[in-house]
Amino acid sequence: MNGLPRSPEDLHPALWRAHQMARVSSSVLSSQFLELDAVLPGGGWPERVLTELLLPHAGVGELRLLAPVLAALQRQQRSVMWFDPPAAPCAWALGALGIDMRQLVLVHSRAALKGRARELLPAADVLWALEQALKSGHLGAVLAWLPARLPPDALRRLQLAAQAHDGPAFLLRDAQMRSRPSAAPLRLLLSSAGPDLLRVHLLKRRGPPLAQPITLALHPVLSAPVLALAHDQAQAKAQTRASVRHP
């Protein structure tokens, strides 16, 4: 019995048991949210792999979730590239979130498509551009809003290309994609949990499944008194609902 390792995870660094967190060999970047870092394998956003964020719609707080890590990368003079953002970004809001406009590049690949096709059709250009950006290895972080329909091997190709990318790569997709298989080793479902609160549901990670979603306090939009008022109103509404249900 002396020749055998004491535990199976000593066999190979890539091996982990289902009740354990994976030991991440490549470096991670802190998300600057303590609650989130605690549940991510390695304690932060992974580098050199894809991270998929699923949103019900644009504007649930996804940029406020990612802005700290983007700002941290930009402080190291590393550029950030966004592919096909869903709306026009407001420079003042991004500046207030700490994002440096000089190191942000926006790439629009769907100018050639018109109308509804713009949301649905898989644009070959965005996949090509994303792959080039990941392979180049000169970017700090990549954010891509991908179309709903993708060729089945697209994510796998991107995952391979991301191995050359020395930083996090975020794919933002529609929440309907949660039931589809994905090559990304980390998948998060985001939804709003109230004003300035974000609910994060970990769909997939290299570790035991997390049953309860976590709630993060985001960079505030509302001032403290207004926020308190909003909470009071929400509670009052909940009480009236409860009283209506159980008179």
Partner: protein, 531 residues
């Protein structure tokens, strides 16, 4: 004085090959001048096609022969590129004849570290042009030219006339594919050595001597030594003064004035394709030849290419003239790398739909930046990352279009539509105002503006004095923030902005229009979402 001669024995065939599709290049081919074969490539020579035979004879020998007219202009354009490549090493470059370029390298020897090193540099510069080169060095211009043509290092009993018909053999020492030998292949270091070498040279090497070949043969004059031993006056009477003058110039006894080649300020080169190019790959194969010439020109100018224009002349389509396609490729970071230029052109060509098959390509370049490229880095540094990013942006712009790769610039305007402007991203690092965010240590201030702005404000229905979004009432949380500005330009606004909460808890930014012009049926508009 020290001269380097570059003789291109296969220039005509190589210049013609450049206009072919890559799959045609191995076929037997001949060039015709006055209905007779003037040049035949190796594959044709193997079938017995020799220079001098008639076209019909050649066709009878090889049925699949590719036959084209010799074009002195095409050869001259190819030779011009060799001249440009040579001009990077010395300003004293001259054309000797239609296939030989002479370089006076006397003043450049020290800079490039001696004759063998310089010779290797010159060959490396000419190599992308794809020519077989015979080179020789000698103290006189004509001596170097004669040695390069004669090649005493390759005395294998093969007559020069046979050699014309045959392509270069694989054992040839200065083929680019082989590592170049350390010493110059055919050279004479001093005048005595040159004279001794020239004494053994055959008489036909001298220009006028070639015309009198039969007469000289009849007189049993084979080498220049035989010729030199005859009385000068008699020779001059019989064969003209030119023969004696050439002999003296080659031996360094008479001055040999030359006219130096001048580098044009603007690069302009054209290539008429023998086989019309149907797709982008075929156009690119032709353009690669022009790009190699462009790089040779820019190297001589000691400059980098900042922008170039490729013009494609199309075939007439149903008796209607198809306008030429013009592609302008601009580089964010000037480059002198033919592969990179080709890559950019490939991305641009992939986007272009060719209206008709392309017959002719023109490459034009007048936009250069002087100076050499900055040094490369062994280990990745910030500078190399910025350069890599610039190249990535260039590639993205080449494929997606210049306006599709953008940077965001904040504008001091209260109107959300005007508060940010997207400008095309040019270099790796944009210049602009310093970061406007607060330091991360201080407590975060509330955001006043949403990160996502709708391109057009979306009208919202109003029920029970409340705006509704997607069938749900919006709960106004904060506001109003009045923005009333722009009365001096064409987009005046007078709006009360509110932050509201949707049913699922996310925050949106909406406004109530106050101006009669903006009011129709609806008063509420969605402006953006807090992401």
């Amino acid at each position: 004085m020290r001269w380097l001669a570059l003789h291109l024995p296969m220039l005509s065939l190589e210049a013609f090959c450049a206009t072919l599709r890559p799959d045609q290049a191995c076929r037997p081919m001949v060039l015709l001048a006055d209905h007779r074969v003037s040049h035949a490539n190796h594959a044709a020579a193997e079938r017995g096609v020799r220079p001098g035979i008639k076209r019909a004879t050649a066709m009878a020998l090889a049925a699949d022969l590719l036959v084209a007219e010799a074009d002195p202009a095409r050869d001259a354009a190819a030779l011009q590129a060799v001249v440009h490549a040579a001009l990077a090493f010395t300003p004293a470059v001259t054309l000797h004849d239609t296939r030989t370029v002479l370089l006076d390298v006397h003043a450049s020897l020290r800079l490039f570290g001696g004759a063998p090193a310089l010779w290797r540099c010159v060959l490396a510069a000419i190599e992308p042009l794809g020519h077989a080169v015979h080179s020789a060095a000698a103290p006189t211009a004509l001596g170097a030219a004669l040695l390069a043509r004669w090649r005493p290092d390759r005395r294998d009993g093969c007559d020069q006339r046979d050699r014309l018909a045959q392509p270069d053999r694989p054992d040839q020492p200065d083929r680019p594919a082989h590592p170049p030998p350390v010493t110059l292949p055919a050279h004479a270091n001093d005048l005595q050595a040159l004279q001794a070498l020239l004494d053994q040279a055959p008489v036909w090497l001298l220009g006028p001597g070639r015309e009198h070949w039969d007469a000289l043969q009849g007189m049993a004059l084979h080498t220049l030594a035989d010729l030199r031993q005859l009385p000068r006056a008699g020779l001059a009477r019989r064969f003209g003064e030119g023969l004696m003058l050439e002999l003296d110039r080659a031996r360094g006894l008479q001055p040999d004035p030359r006219v130096w080649a001048v580098l044009p300020d603007i690069f302009e080169s054209r290539l008429e394709l023998y086989a019309r190019a149907e797709n982008a790959d075929q156009v690119l194969a032709g353009a690669a030849v022009l790009l190699a010439r462009l790089v040779a020109w820019a190297q001589a100018l000691h400059a980098r290419v900042a922008a170039f224009t490729l013009c494609m002349q199309h075939e007439h389509h149903r008796s209607a003239t198809v306008p030429a396609t013009v592609l302008r490729v601009e580089l964010a970071e000037p480059a002198l790398d033919a592969e990179h230029l080709q890559l950019l052109l490939r991305e641009r060509l992939a986007r272009v739909e060719l209206a008709a098959p392309t017959l002719e390509l023109r490459l034009h370049c007048s936009h250069t930046v002087a100076g050499h490229a900055p040094n490369g880095e062994l280990f990745p540094t910030r500078a190399s990352a910025a350069e890599g990013l610039t190249r990535l942006l260039e590639r993205l712009r080449a494929r997606l279009g210049d306006t599709q790769v953008q940077r965001l610039v904040p504008v001091a305007d209260h109107r959300p539509e005007c508060a940010s402007r997207a400008i095309p991203a040019q270099g790796g690092m944009a210049l602009g105002p310093a970061r406007m965010c607060a330091s991360p240590d201080t407590a975060p201030l509330p955001l006043h503006r949403p990160a996502w702005l709708l391109p057009e404000p979306m009208p919202l229905p109003e029920r029970d004095a409340q705006p509704w979004l997607e069938g749900r009432p919006l709960q106004l949380l904060s506001g109003p923030e009045r923005i009333e500005t722009g009365w001096w330009d064409e987009h005046p606004v007078a709006r009360d902005y509110f932050i509201a909460q949707t049913e699922d808890g996310s925050l949106v930014w909406l406004f109530h229009a106050r101006m009669p012009g903006e009011v129709g049926e609806v008063n509420w508009f969605l402006q953006g979402r807090f992401a």
